[in-house]
Symmetry: D4
Subunit: 232 residues, 8 copies
Amino acid sequence: MNEEVRLDFQRTERVGFDEAVLCARKSDAQLATIMDRVLERGTRCLLTRLEAEVFGRLAPAYLERLDYDPISRTAFLNWTPPAEQQAPDIAVVSAGSSDMPQAAEVLRTLAYLGAPTRQFIDIGVAGLWRLLERVEELRTFPVIVAVAGMDGALPSVLGGLVPGVIICLPTSTGYGVSNGGETALHAALASCAPGLTVVNIDNGYGAACAAFRALSMVRRVSVQDGKGRPNA
Amino acid sequence: MNEEVRLDFQRTERVGFDEAVLCARKSDAQLATIMDRVLERGTRCLLTRLEAEVFGRLAPAYLERLDYDPISRTAFLNWTPPAEQQAPDIAVVSAGSSDMPQAAEVLRTLAYLGAPTRQFIDIGVAGLWRLLERVEELRTFPVIVAVAGMDGALPSVLGGLVPGVIICLPTSTGYGVSNGGETALHAALASCAPGLTVVNIDNGYGAACAAFRALSMVRRVSVQDGKGRPNA
Amino acid sequence: MNEEVRLDFQRTERVGFDEAVLCARKSDAQLATIMDRVLERGTRCLLTRLEAEVFGRLAPAYLERLDYDPISRTAFLNWTPPAEQQAPDIAVVSAGSSDMPQAAEVLRTLAYLGAPTRQFIDIGVAGLWRLLERVEELRTFPVIVAVAGMDGALPSVLGGLVPGVIICLPTSTGYGVSNGGETALHAALASCAPGLTVVNIDNGYGAACAAFRALSMVRRVSVQDGKGRPNA
Amino acid sequence: MNEEVRLDFQRTERVGFDEAVLCARKSDAQLATIMDRVLERGTRCLLTRLEAEVFGRLAPAYLERLDYDPISRTAFLNWTPPAEQQAPDIAVVSAGSSDMPQAAEVLRTLAYLGAPTRQFIDIGVAGLWRLLERVEELRTFPVIVAVAGMDGALPSVLGGLVPGVIICLPTSTGYGVSNGGETALHAALASCAPGLTVVNIDNGYGAACAAFRALSMVRRVSVQDGKGRPNA
Amino acid sequence: MNEEVRLDFQRTERVGFDEAVLCARKSDAQLATIMDRVLERGTRCLLTRLEAEVFGRLAPAYLERLDYDPISRTAFLNWTPPAEQQAPDIAVVSAGSSDMPQAAEVLRTLAYLGAPTRQFIDIGVAGLWRLLERVEELRTFPVIVAVAGMDGALPSVLGGLVPGVIICLPTSTGYGVSNGGETALHAALASCAPGLTVVNIDNGYGAACAAFRALSMVRRVSVQDGKGRPNA
Amino acid sequence: MNEEVRLDFQRTERVGFDEAVLCARKSDAQLATIMDRVLERGTRCLLTRLEAEVFGRLAPAYLERLDYDPISRTAFLNWTPPAEQQAPDIAVVSAGSSDMPQAAEVLRTLAYLGAPTRQFIDIGVAGLWRLLERVEELRTFPVIVAVAGMDGALPSVLGGLVPGVIICLPTSTGYGVSNGGETALHAALASCAPGLTVVNIDNGYGAACAAFRALSMVRRVSVQDGKGRPNA
Amino acid sequence: MNEEVRLDFQRTERVGFDEAVLCARKSDAQLATIMDRVLERGTRCLLTRLEAEVFGRLAPAYLERLDYDPISRTAFLNWTPPAEQQAPDIAVVSAGSSDMPQAAEVLRTLAYLGAPTRQFIDIGVAGLWRLLERVEELRTFPVIVAVAGMDGALPSVLGGLVPGVIICLPTSTGYGVSNGGETALHAALASCAPGLTVVNIDNGYGAACAAFRALSMVRRVSVQDGKGRPNA
Amino acid sequence: MNEEVRLDFQRTERVGFDEAVLCARKSDAQLATIMDRVLERGTRCLLTRLEAEVFGRLAPAYLERLDYDPISRTAFLNWTPPAEQQAPDIAVVSAGSSDMPQAAEVLRTLAYLGAPTRQFIDIGVAGLWRLLERVEELRTFPVIVAVAGMDGALPSVLGGLVPGVIICLPTSTGYGVSNGGETALHAALASCAPGLTVVNIDNGYGAACAAFRALSMVRRVSVQDGKGRPNA
């Protein structure tokens, strides 16, 4: 059983952020083993898709080291918040309360990684004016994560209005033809607004990592020489 | 062969407009027989999906009775334009030149049926301002046909801005995940803007008929008693 | 958390009816917040997809303001029935008891909006005579909502018999190839009866809004000048 | 190359009718070899999906032995029509001219097998009265093949009206969601009219064989002892 | 609520067998109303998809009139078995225990309708010899229902060996690509053995009705005049 | 016809790059009108999906203003190359010659936009060593476009090795289950390597625009104040 | 009921290994009957997909004869482990803990069949170095089973590095587009690394049988004459 | 352009056979460059999917070095047949003439690789006796490639009768639900006969490589020490 968990502790060196643990489909024993490894090594870890009832079954020794959020279903193991908060560079935009869990997974993952964010939750296409009021502000962000389910029209509208990196996160919210998120996914991919990029349905963790990659490139360059080339 | 064509000449009495002939997959001989029947009976007929090269093979006797438009691939047999043009009641809205054939099929079908229309061709979501400039005008139309391919975001935006009947016509324009029009179809069906209705992909004829049904109800009532009940 | 709910209170001005709240995937806390906002503002609200067990958990303060129906899973908050009932303008047609929840969502939504309806529940294609007996009556309605699952043959038959606006509501009733409602959806879209329009699978709320849009146009015009143009 | 064609000449003994040759995807050389085998053996053969241009390339020696029909794309090799025609036992029902090729493949295959048929070509659901006029006559047939594309509503209506064996032949006629025939196939399978059976899209040959199987059972029994058991 | 149930009591006259009640998605109250109607009228009724736990909740007054079978999930209301059993005309063939519920629905429906059957349960393709041992016996049946899930190879093998009517009943047994039964359905439709017919996935009731239609035609004819034409 | 083309000349101000013209499905006349508008205005334009045979039919007046490349099917109208070439910031990576057209569309679009690129064409997963030899170099690029068809394994491998922004461009190369590019698309979306982003199948233009958005953010910041916020 | 279970006890003679019992969808009574048959006959049996809660309900008489493993959900009835363990010939490779159940089904099935295996659990593509460290060892195995979910990139990388038989086992691990395992299945089928073979999603038993077939051929030949032909 | 072709000349060392060139979607110029590289290096090469009309356009210098077969669309460059032919180890089984191109691609690829084969072309399930006559012979082959389109029932029947490695090659032969080969693919994957493996639709080259991998393991072992472990 020991062999079952060989974490990729060198990932940060290679890609700039550490491996997260997808808790779905893992047994309680597997989760405990993983956390033991992390604690032994004295490092930290992000856990995603950790259901509240699984969290509730964890031993107290783990609980005191975990910062858990039930809406995003994420937990931070052995994590300490950064001393000072920077101005937000990443905007996380969604239409309302139904996409909240996925937006929260983005926000929490970026918090874990130390990237300052700002959330915009009232940016729906059916009430277009709420989006238009925020356009000028949104144009100042280098990276925007657009969370959208159902018909997924938000990224198309946004993509024609702002210049930054746009990462679309389609969600499985919906029923009938939008059940499972395929319509939102396809609408984002087929958008007539050019230069949008897309991640898998409900993959808030992945959208956050993509945003973090972009932000890292923006920052690495700026503190160096402005030549648009990071030192790997 | 004679038996092969039994037109439904009573359709107008039952549903308010006459049967059209879908020319796709019909042989030249079948088309000739159909037109003979119509001409014998002294009535008129709409032909849809009539490719230019099929049209070019028709006998001169038919050609002089046909009003053909190659973009919409429609022809009017034995048709005379109405004496005076009414103010337009139906708006046909699309984003640009790629959806032109489908929009044209809507416009031509409604012209054949005698319903006055107005076309708006610059209403794309990626350039949102062009849509916003027209909103007040669009709000005055009782019926709007929204033609959209690719990500199909136009109907969702429109549906949150205007009160009239909205009939979405998804088009097969696009490639990759939008190839064949399924993404535009699903986006219209899953729209977060409530009260949109949808017809089959590329079914410009059907969208026009749906618009005509709505307009007929609007008009029938108004010349009667205002009780919202037509005399069937 | 406060920011999570920004209702679109101006929707009625723009599109003619107010925003509904889709309760599926919302937490009890989110629902409470939404109802608080509505009550603070002194307005009313329609809740859809409100499961009986969620309804049962609501605080008494909400319960006394709610008119709840378990079959349609709808609730009216702060709603008062209209003083007098008009003659019905919208027919809601279905084949039998299996499509009852979806038909009920249509009827309840239209009741909330103040549009008088009449239900026809025995209109199945397999027993065609029951449909034929009602054709003359159905022909008098300006708007018909046709609810159908499984093979979805009802709209095609109906579409060849009546002149009014027909809005097809496919349902997820069925198993095997009709599981989830895709067959009923596609059959309605591909119907050989022209001028049908379609909404998303199980979207009774959307079908009702579409019917209401059509009825609004019929009525607005008739009390004005009969020119087929509403004053927006 | 010789080995490439080993026909199943014993099929008639086993299942009651002889093997047909699906010409699609076969080279001219393969077709010639097959026909040589049949002619050497002095037997007969049905060829299906034989395109007119392939037929036109065949050597004269074959042409004089072939009875070819371009609409159904079928040819009879070495076939002689039966001396006297029986009263028709199998009805082949379709809505109009667009499903003619598939209906013709059914009719021609049954003609080849010596089963008398009667064609009904005006049985569309959108013009319901044409179907209703024929119901009493259709009720007298022990076997009906119902050919339908697009929304495939015909079998459902028919299935509620007649007692005989109903074999649904969905066709690939249509566009958008009905492109390729899947909607017609699924509608027939999901029909609310019980006891329908279905064959593959555009499989006119298969529908005819299924009808022939049913007819064989009807006839075998009746000339024997009425116990409902054929002598195999 | 009364209006919710209008049974089609004339179905037997039209198609030869009475309407069944699909219990899935019906409330307990709806089921009770339906049974009341049947009992009031003094007729009988078949209930399908009646789960054991729903059955267990029924009132005693119904239970004593019901003949229930939990494997097939069918119940006969007010039914009396036929006085004498005829020799079986319909073979129901399946590969083993996993398709038992669907096969049982076929057998029970045919028992209800009074059609004698014989079950063959060891007819799997992976152990071909078990099928080959039974071929001669199977060839004597005018009608065979072939029940098959997973890869659905049984109908293809059977179809090349026997002359009777073959009705394929694909089942949803399986996982991965065969999950839901689509592979078995498609394999039956695409079979290279000609003349197979197919019903919807898991539609044991429909397969039985199709078998009954075929058997009715066989029997009606044989007791008359052998001309292959029933008196409708 | 004049109205048919209303270009979005303000797009550059809003999103940072100008509108391109998708030539597929546009008539020769529409293309001419578009180019006239661009030339009248004295601006420039990128044309994509311009087939060689359409290009060959253009009038000489256009040809002399166009820089055309048949492999990528792109043309630059009224374009002048930048005076000096910067060091490349964007790597375009593909496995070999079959994905060349899509990779070329990325490279040409970025050339048009003035973004320096470097192409890596031998980066296939089946010959892993060719990829491993280049990893250190690839790690220095802030933005990588990974072009991959068939099984789409390249982005997953790359994503675990480099820290930059990765934009996956799935291609329609392949047959069987990879026909049309869906497998490559889904593999990129479902990658176990975190932080990948994806564009539509064969959307080389979109991938280039996404890369350009990222690069713009990197550059805008560096010439300012390093705070990770562009001046919009 | 007796007839319901006719096991294929001759399978070993025909194909080299005995029939397994898929417990999913079987009732407790059916499982008991099957085990009785096996015990009566004095032979052994493998049970797959035996859920822990079903296992817990079995009678003690069975439990003492069963070797059960909850992770793989397999049980060995009447099985005795081989006396001495051979060197492993089959490598079972997977990326980590989420695919453990499927990998375990492979390992347990091969253990039951007496084929020695070796498990490699840290072979993920996102951390490529862990795979590269093991390549030389993996190249010595004649048969490798590669277990992979999500994007299924592992088989493609492996296929370019080792010469042995590679059997890909896609798993249903994942969400969004990889939900259900279709992406992993398609990626394995479309792999650019030639000569991979694939089994159904989650079919660990089938992958093991395929590996056993290959190993049997390797061994049979080697103890004979080296001519590459087994004695059947 | 030079860089466009970097062949993987070391593949043989790694996986045991050399890289093939998929000619589909490659330009004439690309093909010429590839062949130049091969000829310069003095090695050999297999070309697949080389259409006859592309072959006809090649320069004479290439033609004299190429062994081309139009049915399989394969060409061998610089290839010399082996001096003596071994007894066949691999059986290639198919039902008839429609799957000939795919079977031929398997046979030609194995001929190129020097693996002796034997073709069985009359092994169809609809005429089962032809298969049964050959079973004993087929049982002697260590590796069988089973080529099947349409319903793909052949592999399931074969898999229950023979002990060797079975590689299923589904073909795109067919129409309706079997169009494109998905039904044959899924039927092979879902087969109830255990231990089958599958390759992509129409991937005759891949099936041959898989057969060659298996044969290599059989042979390598037998000429060494019989321990079931090749020397890599």
